[in-house]
Amino acid sequence: MKILVCISHVPDTTSKINFTDGDSKFDTNGVQFVINPNDEFGLTRAMWFKEKQGASLDVVNVGGVETEPTLRKALAIGADAAIRVNAEAKDGFQVAKELAKVVQDGGYDLVIAGRESIDYNGAMVPGMLSELIGANFVTNCISLDIEGTNATAIREIDGGKETVTTSLPLVIGGQKGLVEESDLRIPNMRGIMMARKKPLTIVEATDAETETASIEFKKPAPKGSVTLVDAGNLDELINLLHNEAKVI
């Protein structure tokens, strides 16, 4: 089984979100970038396929040279090889098209991506990719088992979960549950040393077209301060929720 894990290079959750160039670009100044958390669950699940079922495991990212440390981290965790498609990621469709070419050229039969990235939250790249390459697609995936070309997955749905069966080639939108937080691996020194020698191939972009464009970012209006209610006066809380906030 040839597995490709899509790695999104995203600002760490605790980052201050600011914009630059007339609010048209995300301000990366002083921002720590990480592997998108939803992708990291998928990467760890893929490691188990590699270790227990002898799968090969490559990682891919569409982005500039600044995303390479994030790919190196994935190599240090245990991926065999990394691919960087040399393009600025502009919209979900463009990224999906670039990834489709990588999947087809590399003959991958399982692609694991996160259900969404924590920066743009589009939740669209894995589904678009599946459609572009004619693969099956299961998202919000919290469990995945593969025997031969048959796959059984459990996915979260609103209000519960469901079990589905499908087959390779397959694209997964993964999330927590695929593995648990305690299963995530922190690269050790040996992994980091080995990662330096593993191949990181730079692939030139196909100049896939975009369908949407980001024009401007805006920050939410500053929030007013909290109204504190004394624990001995909960009638006041009910009064405020009823008459002021009008939510009960």
Partner: protein, 320 residues
């Protein structure tokens, strides 16, 4: 040329989000000077859609569509959009709609803007406001394709009534074989889901143990709310994963979010920020949640929550 809206139903009944996306579609149709067509799957009675601005309903009744299947449902919407010559397709951001949207987008060669919170600010270029960075910012996005898909965030646009009546006609798209088949669904049918709930009552490690959730469930019941929990609580196995809300859990966009014994880690706040009114109950006045909340009570949950339940019961009786 009409605006097409996919109105989701469950057991034949429309969800609130269906009426919300219909309201949104009507606003777009007004801007474009056109009408609204809704497409429904196995809905029992479609007349309600007229109240939210729908002019025509394409009614799909098909037993193979009994269980949701993203590929098949995307195909239904695609064929409806093609029949109507729709240039704008409006969907919700339920888990199901988010699943089918990218498949639909590729099928229709349509640009897709998810997490949209307002009616388009402009129709040429077609410009929408969407959330980004997990609700920490907004992004103005243009969709530059001929056909456009707008995913409207739950509880962002609201319901807008329009007294009109909708005509209804049967629609029989061809459904291709799907490579993904649902084997079993495990879903509590008697409980309001986090996605659909107007109010969510959520608790964290401050509750000290799973045996103390009785009062959380009772508070939720009094409020007609869904129950949720913080990540540490689900990691500890005190509550099921499906209740975990936050960045790596389920998103919440309720009218009222009550956080009990949750400190308010940034990952938690990111997932619940889209809720309109936030109440925090915590013993620690320095808990970060107080900075994100609208109303706060500094106090012991084991005293505050039972009292609050009693007072809410009395309030309900008085306002019944």
């Amino acid at each position: 040329m009409s605006v097409l809206v996919y109105t989701e139903s469950e057991n034949g009944k429309f969800k609130k989000t269906a009426l919300e996306v219909a309201s949104y579609a009507k606003a777009v149709a007004n801007q474009l000077g056109t009408t609204v067509t809704a497409v429904t799957v196995n809905a029992a009675n479609t007349s309600e859609l007229g109240n939210y601005g729908v002019d025509k309903v394409l009614n799909v009744s098909n037993s193979t569509l009994e269980k949701f299947n993203a590929k098949s449902y995307a195909e239904v919407i695609k064929q409806a959009a093609e029949q109507e010559g729709a240039k704008v397709v409006v969907i919700s951001q339920s888990a199901d709609s988010k699943y089918l949207a990218p498949i639909l987008a590729v099928g229709l060669h349509a640009g897709y803007a998810p997490n949209v919170v307002e009616a388009p600010s402009n129709t040429a270029p077609f410009t929408v406001k969407r959330t980004a960075f997990t609700n920490k910012a907004f992004n103005m996005t243009t969709i530059n394709t001929d056909v456009k898909i707008v995913g409207v965030s739950n509880n962002a646009f609201g319901l807008v009534e329009n007294s009109a009546s909708a005509t209804s006609e049967d629609f029989s798209p061809s459904i291709p074989e799907s490579g993904v088949s649902v084997q079993s669904v495990d879903k509590a049918t008697d409980k309001v889901t986090i996605a659909d709930a107007e109010t969510v009552v959520s608790a964290g490690r401050g509750l000290k143990g799973p045996e103390n959730w009785g009062m959380i469930e009772e508070l939720a019941e009094v409020l007609g709310a869904a129950t949720a929990c913080s990540k540490p609580v689900s990691d500890l196995g005190w509550r099921p994963h499906s209740e975990h809300v936050g960045q790596t859990g389920k998103p919440v966009a309720s009218n009222l979010y009550i956080a009990i014994g949750i400190s308010g880690a940034i990952q938690h706040l990111a997932g619940i920020n889209a809720s309109k009114v936030k109440v925090v109950i915590n013993t620690d006045p320095e808990a970060p949640f107080f900075k994100a909340a609208d109303y706060g009570v500094v106090g012991d949950a084991f005293e505050v929550v039972p009292t609050l339940i009693e007072k809410l019961k009395a309030f309900k009786v008085a306002n019944a």
